[in-house]
Symmetry: none
Subunit: 435 residues, 2 copies
């Protein structure tokens, strides 16, 4: 529990999903994302989450340990009528609240059963859903038979919700407004993600050390996490404040500090992906882009066209996998390939210039590389990729060496192509110079 | 621990992911799915999983409690070089194994840093990754700097792995063969996935009812789950047996029963993706394929080139987003577009035939559609996609109407293009007819 919060205030939550089906490889617990979003929105942090099967011993163990460091435990699932629905029994045992049948709930279940037109009387096992732990408040379920339950446990709270999202979501939204918001300190959590290219994780971390210290010391404090994602570094910032606008303002200042430190290496501060940022820049400059893709096989253009409205700046592209295509369609001189090899800066340049001319585009991109697993040499190992960007002002080329398997090399190569276009457009003084 | 298993045998596992970013709403722990699949494959059940933030106290708490009821604990993430990578420290404290620097690891890290061509010497914080808990076995990481660690804890095992999937996966696969399999009871869970197109989930389910009953009654029983994946239906089969070959034989019979029911709608019984199956057929027939892609923006060709060795059958493709490109590059008659609209079977046909001629390919594919969110009409709503396949024997076209958002429409359209190529190649009596 937070030091400042008055007793009974809820600030830290854990979420437990109960159900053996969530431990296989085909289903993921997604309720926790919904719950986290809504808990964060009222200033409650989620500090842990767990999935446990329909096993009484394991479930008791996990509930006890996940509840220990928090003041709110949300348990989802395992409230159905069958033997393998263990949540109700386990909660009663763990928190020493013996179950008793709630006569009104039983009547409600019988009425619901009859109303749905099932034959005969309600099966007796359905009465399990009317069993309530001592002192629990019953949360109505408009979309199913299992009610939710709210237990006050020495100033802390345990909430049980049914697993199906269409039942859980409306119940939880109502609960936030009804009982949970009244138990918070009134603050909210703001989050931001800064994405950058051209840096490695440890370098970003070292450069951010002074800011970490400053952010930790200020009020409200900002917490920061660095993530190395594929072809980019992400800095995740979060802060909690009584007033949502203050949390936002505080993050805006922090983002400004990161921008001052990393400059043009930052490409996104609002969650946008690189292909969205590049598309926005192309549209703003009124330019089209055409790619000649060898090792990426069309991936860069496919990513560009993932963005709605991309037909404004993507009209055409060529996948030139074969050298013969590079020569015949793109006009790359055959002797250039013979002299430097297909994976080389000169060939990438010729591809970029060739496709720019062919498509009549503002910007041409050429990507040629060795995606693997075969085709590498001592001189040009798998992962070697040449990328060139051609515009009215001239052509730039770079040779990269990426790590990882075939699809990772392809992705990083497409990322490099997009990033070179971004940097070109970012540094343009005026539109005219590249038209 | 299982009653029958000899001491030291691993039968029950828990998985813990460490990382505050996994507690937000933007990222999910997906490593646990990979680990579960491979643990199940050697007969180890996963009985619980948890996610905890980069908080030493909470992490220690969760590791201790998740380890209590199992004999194998797999911890993912939090092994990086920065202050918020807490796993190594917490494990050392929880299991009372003080950390010491491994000089060989430090040298390895320095060499790796230098080899990547970064400027200057390795940042000192990287040395944290060379700290090893007492008695731990170091697991080499071919794709990153953080090594994995294996601790024997009184006959039970704790394994630490780096969080990035491209590092974790190969390390874990090697670990299964190297150290884990030797510690199991020798039973194995056999799994198979049958993938099909051209069917809907409820129809597949109904047709399979008699087989479900037969599979459940036999020894060993086969359990089956149907999943509607994007653009395909998957039937997941699993069975557990002491002898791996028996489990496999039993699945082979079941797969034969499914094939007898669904025929050519089944495209994969060995896990292969559609692009791999199509690539295999193209290679077997000695044919090349060239696509003219409008709404898919290169996605179909990118998927084909995800497969190693695809340069045997992919040489060239054209992204023809603009109508002008369809006319100028692919030779689609402008009046055809005027008469039928760009999204129509006649235009898809002309695109397929045009790109086949342009590239000199055995098979041409044309894809033109409305990916959305804009561009739909009452007549041709968002999701309308025309796909054509041209070969020596003639051209076939089909009009589809897909549901979902832009990227889902793109994927389903690329899936339809690949599937039409697959069905063409599957029905070919001989090579000669399409050359």
């Amino acid at each position: 529990m937070s030091d400042q919060a008055p007793p009974g205030t809820l600030t830290r939550a854990a979420i437990v999903a109960v159900g053996s089906e969530l431990l296989g490889t085909t289903r993921l617990d997604t309720n926790s994302l919904y719950l986290t979003e809504h808990l964060n929105g009222i200033g409650i942090d989620v500090v842990g989450k767990a999935v446990v099967g329909d096993d009484r011993v394991a479930c008791a163990h996990v509930l006890r340990s996940m509840f220990a460091p928090v003041d709110l435990l949300v348990v989802c699932g395992g409230l159905g009528p069958t033997d393998d629905d263990v949540t109700r029994d386990v909660v009663a045992a763990v928190f020493d609240r013996p179950l008793a049948e709630d006569a009104a709930l039983t009547e409600h279940l019988r009425a619901r059963y009859a109303a749905r037109g099932y034959p005969g009387t309600m099966p007796e096992n359905n009465r399990r859903q009317a069993m309530v732990p001592g002192g629990a408040f019953v949360i109505a379920n408009a979309n199913g038979s299992a009610p939710g339950l709210w237990l006050d446990v020495e100033g802390r709270v345990v909430v049980l919700l049914p697993g199906p999202p269409r039942e859980l979501r409306p119940m939880f939204t109502a609960l936030v407004d009804d009982r949970l918001r009244a138990r918070t300190d009134g603050s909210s959590v703001g989050r931001a993600v800064v994405k950058m290219t051209g840096r490695i994780e440890s370098q970003v971390d070292q450069l951010l050390q002074p800011l970490y210290a400053e952010w930790a010391a200020q009020d409200p404090a900002i917490s920061a996490t660095i993530l190395a994602a594929l072809g980019q570094i992400e800095l995740h910032l979060s802060t909690r404040h009584r007033v949502a606008e203050s949390a936002r303002a505080c993050l805006t200042v922090a983002i400004g500090q990161v921008l001052a430190t990393f400059g043009d290496d930052v490409f996104s501060v609002d969650g946008r992906r690189l292909e969205e940022v590049v598309g926005g820049l192309l549209a703003a400059h009124g330019l089209t882009v055409a790619a000649a893709e060898s090792c990426t096989g069309g991936l860069m253009t496919s990513r560009l066209t993932d963005v709605p409205g991309s037909s404004r700046y993507v009209q055409e592209a060529v996948v030139a996998y074969a050298n013969e295509t590079k020569v015949r369609v793109l006009g790359v001189p055959a002797d250039l390939i013979a002299a430097h090899g297909a994976v080389s800066e000169p060939v990438a340049r010729a591809m970029a210039e060739g496709v720019r001319a062919l498509a009549g585009a503002g910007i041409g991109v050429g990507i040629t590389g060795i995606a693997g697993p075969d085709g590498g040499t001592a001189d040009k190992p798998v992962g070697t990729v040449a990328v060139a960007v051609a515009a009215a002002g001239g052509t730039r080329a770079r040779l990269f060496r990426f790590h990882g398997e075939r699809e990772l090399v392809k992705f990083q190569a497409s990322q490099a192509g997009l990033d070179m276009v971004r940097r070109l457009l970012t540094t343009l003084a005026s539109h005219a110079s590249v038209r």
